[in-house]
Point group: C2
Chain length 395, copies 2
C-alpha cells in the first residue's frame, strides 16, 4: 500500500478573531479528501518547522476543531519571522523528513512574503513544495482581495465600541479620540462610521493613513464639531502620517519588528499626544483618548458571522486549490454583489499579494479627508453584519 | 379632581452598560402605580434641573423605553457636578415650579453625595423633598452593597477581553500589561481572573489599589512568569498606589474633576510607563500595554443578564421605597446565596453610601498581593454570567 503524502499548515502574523476558522476549514477539507496521510500543524509558524514542533491535526476530534474554530487568536501559535536562506534550507530538511508535499500558510502580506521566499528558495534548491497562502488580516490591506478574513470581525468590534463610546461622549460631553489599528490602510478606522445611526452620532471625524495628517487641521476640525454639538468623537488610525510621509506615531515610538514595521500598537502614546495637542490648541478641558489596542483582533464576542464563514471557506478553498495542482498561489475574495451580498473565491499568484499593501480607494474617502463616503458604508456593512439598534427617547 | 404630584429622575457620574435599565425600571414602576402626574427626566443630572431641561417620560412608548433600557450609556445624559448652596436653592425653585414631590438620582458614591447635599439643604430650607438614590457604578465600590449595578457587565467585558488577550499573548509571546478601570477599588481589575480556564491562562498577575504597588516587585513578578511560560499577561488597576499613598498614575496626570478625583481614565500613560519600566528592568523585548478605557463601561454587546435584571430591579425598588414613605435612602443589594445565586434589596440611609468608597475585602486578595483568591472568583462568577468556552487542541 502506497503511503499518502503529508501536508503542513501554520499560522503567522497578528492573530484575528477568525484565523482559527481558516485553519479548521483547511483541516476538515483535507480530512474529507483522504488525500493526505498526516495533517501537520506547525506551532508558531515557520518557527515550529525550524524547531520541529508540529502536531498531527488528524488526531483532533471534530468537536475540538469546531470549538477551536470559534475561538479568537491563533490556536497553533503565531510568529513574526522573515526566513533567511539558512532558515529555508533547515525548513526543507524538516519538511522532507516529515514527507510534507503541501504547505499552507495563513497570514497577511508579510506572511505571504515569507511563503514567497520559502517557495522561491525551494525552487532554486530543486525541492518540490507546493505552497498555498490563506489570507488573513484585520487591516484589510491584501492586494487582489475585495476584503480579507479577519477584517469583518475587527470592524464589528470597532463599530460596536464606537456605538457605546459615542453615547458615552454624548452623556458627559467633551472630546473623545479613539485610536484604531491599521498600519498603512484606514479600512479598520473607517469602520467606526458604521456606528452612526443618526446624523449627529459619532464618530464625527475619521482620520486615515491614506491622507496626510495635519495637526492644526485636526484641532480646528474638532473645535468646529464641538462648537456645534458640545462634543466630538474623532477616530484616528494608528497609521496616520505627516507631510514627511512618516507615521505621526513613529516620532514617539522606536521599536520595529523583523519585517521593519514600526510598533504602532500596544502603546497609548499617539492618543495621548493628540489629546494634549487638542487641549493646548482649543482650550477644551475634557479631552480623552482611548487606544483600542489588541482587543480589536482578539475580543471574545464580536465575531461577524459573514467573516467567520468566509474565513472557513478560504481554508477549504486552499486545500481544493492544492489538490487541483495549484502552487504559489493565494486564495482571494472577490465580491459579486453587495445586495444581496455574495462573493467568489479565486486563486491568484502568491507574488501579487506578498509584501505590498493595499490602501483605501479614493472613492471611500470624503474629499475633506476627515471622513468616509456612503460608498464605503455600502462596502463595509455586509462584512460586519447587523448591528444592534440604539435606543433613544423621542423627545 | 386633585392634581397628582410629579416625580423627577436623573442620571449622574460615569455611564454604565445598564444605567438605563435602572431608569426604565423606575419609570415603568412609577407609571404602573399611577401615583405620579408627570415623570420628569432631567437632562444631564442636576445640570438639567438648573437649566430646566427636563422631558416627560410618561410620553415615551413602552417599546422606546425597552430599547433605551438595552442601550449602554446614560440616555438622559450625565454630569459630574457637586452642588453649591446656591445651586441647591435654584434646584428647589425649579422643583417647586414643576410640583416635584419625589427626587430619584441614579449614580455612584459622588452622585449619592450630591443627593445628600441637596437633601440636607432642602431640610434646612424647609423644603420637603423625599430623595431616593439608585445605585450604579462599574467600580463596585458602594458601601452597604454586595455589589452594584453596572459592575457585572463591566466585569464581563474585562473577562471577555482577557480571554482573547491571553490567547493573543500565547500566540506571539512576550509581556502584555492591561490597565483596567477602578479608582479606589480593585473589583474590576480582579474580574480579569474570570478569563482563566486552565492553570496557565492569563492574566497571570493582578495588581489592585488595595495593596501598595512596588515597581521592582512588579517587574520581578513579570520576569518570573515569563521565564516559566515564555509570556505573561499582567492586569493592573488604574488606581494602583505607591508607598506614599498616591496613585502611580497621579505622578503623570494632573487633571481633576469637580469632586477632586484625578483623571485616571482616557489616557494610556500608566500602561506606557509600566511597559517602559518592564523593558528596562527585565530586558524583555516584546512588551505591550493596552488601556481598556471607556469601552469597559459603554461597549455594545457585553451586558451581563444578571446585571441588567438587577439594574432594572433597583429602579423599581426605588419607586416602591419612595411610595412607602422612605426618604434619604439608597437601594442596596444583599446577596442571599451564591449557589443558587439570589439577592434581596434593602433600603439603607443615603449618608451611609454617600462619598465614601468600599474596597476589596482582604479575603479576595491573595497574600502575595499580586492575585485574587478563589473566594473572589465565587463572588464574581454569578455577576458576570456564563462565559464562552476556549477551544484548544488536545496535543
Amino acid at each position: 500500500m502506497k503511503t499518502l503524502p503529508n501536508m503542513l499548515i501554520a499560522q503567522s502574523g497578528g492573530p484575528s478573531m477568525v484565523i482559527n476558522q481558516s485553519l479548521v476549514g483547511a483541516v476538515l477539507a483535507a480530512r474529507k479528501t483522504k488525500r493526505f496521510g498526516k495533517i501537520y500543524g506547525a506551532l508558531h509558524g515557520i518557527q515550529g518547522i525550524l524547531d520541529e514542533k508540529v502536531i498531527d491535526l488528524k488526531r483532533e476530534s471534530r468537536a475540538t476543531l469546531e470549538k477551536v474554530a470559534a475561538t479568537p487568536s491563533a490556536a497553533l501559535g503565531s510568529v513574526r519571522r522573515k526566513p533567511t536562506g539558512d532558515d529555508c534550507l533547515a525548513i526543507f530538511d524538516t519538511l522532507r523528513r516529515l514527507n510534507v508535499e503541501a504547505f499552507f500558510y495563513i497570514g497577511g502580506n508579510d506572511s505571504a512574503e515569507t511563503l514567497n521566499i520559502v517557495r522561491r528558495t525551494a525552487r532554486k534548491s530543486g525541492f518540490p513544495l507546493p505552497c498555498v497562502h490563506i489570507p488573513k488580516t484585520i487591516d484589510n490591506d491584501l492586494r487582489e482581495n475585495d476584503h480579507t478574513p479577519g477584517y469583518g470581525s475587527a470592524a464589528r468590534f470597532v463599530a460596536l465600541a464606537h456605538m457605546g463610546d459615542s453615547l458615552d461622549n454624548e452623556a458627559l460631553g467633551g472630546v473623545k479620540i479613539n485610536i484604531v489599528m491599521g498600519r498603512h490602510a484606514g479600512f479598520l478606522a473607517a469602520a467606526a462610521a458604521l456606528a452612526r445611526q443618526r446624523p449627529d452620532d459619532g464618530p464625527h471625524l475619521i482620520y486615515l493613513p491614506e491622507r496626510v495628517f495635519d495637526m492644526s487641521r485636526f484641532t480646528t476640525d474638532i473645535q468646529r464639531v464641538t462648537r456645534r454639538l458640545g462634543r466630538c468623537v474623532a477616530t484616528v488610525s494608528e497609521g496616520i502620517t505627516g507631510p514627511s510621509g512618516n507615521p505621526i506615531a513613529a516620532d514617539f515610538i522606536h521599536e520595529a519588528d523583523a519585517h521593519g514595521n514600526i510598533q504602532l500598537s500596544g502603546s497609548g502614546a499617539l492618543g495621548d499626544i493628540l489629546a494634549a495637542e487638542v487641549r493646548r490648541a482649543t482650550g477644551i478641558q475634557r479631552v480623552r483618548a482611548d487606544t483600542f489596542g489588541y482587543l480589536q483582533r482578539s475580543f471574545f464576542g464580536a465575531v461577524s458571522p459573514v467573516d467567520a464563514r468566509e474565513a472557513r471557506q478560504v481554508g477549504e478553498q486552499a486545500v481544493a486549490a492544492a489538490l487541483s495542482g495549484c502552487d504559489s498561489v493565494s486564495i482571494a475574495i472577490s465580491r459579486v454583489s453587495s445586495q444581496p451580498y455574495s462573493v467568489v473565491y479565486r486563486t491568484v499568484p502568491l507574488s501579487k499579494v506578498a509584501r505590498h499593501t493595499r490602501r483605501m480607494p479614493a472613492k471611500f474617502i470624503r474629499r475633506s479627508g476627515n471622513n468616509v463616503t456612503s460608498a464605503f458604508l455600502e462596502y463595509a456593512r455586509p462584512l460586519v453584519g447587523p448591528l444592534p439598534e440604539i435606543g433613544r427617547f423621542s423627545q
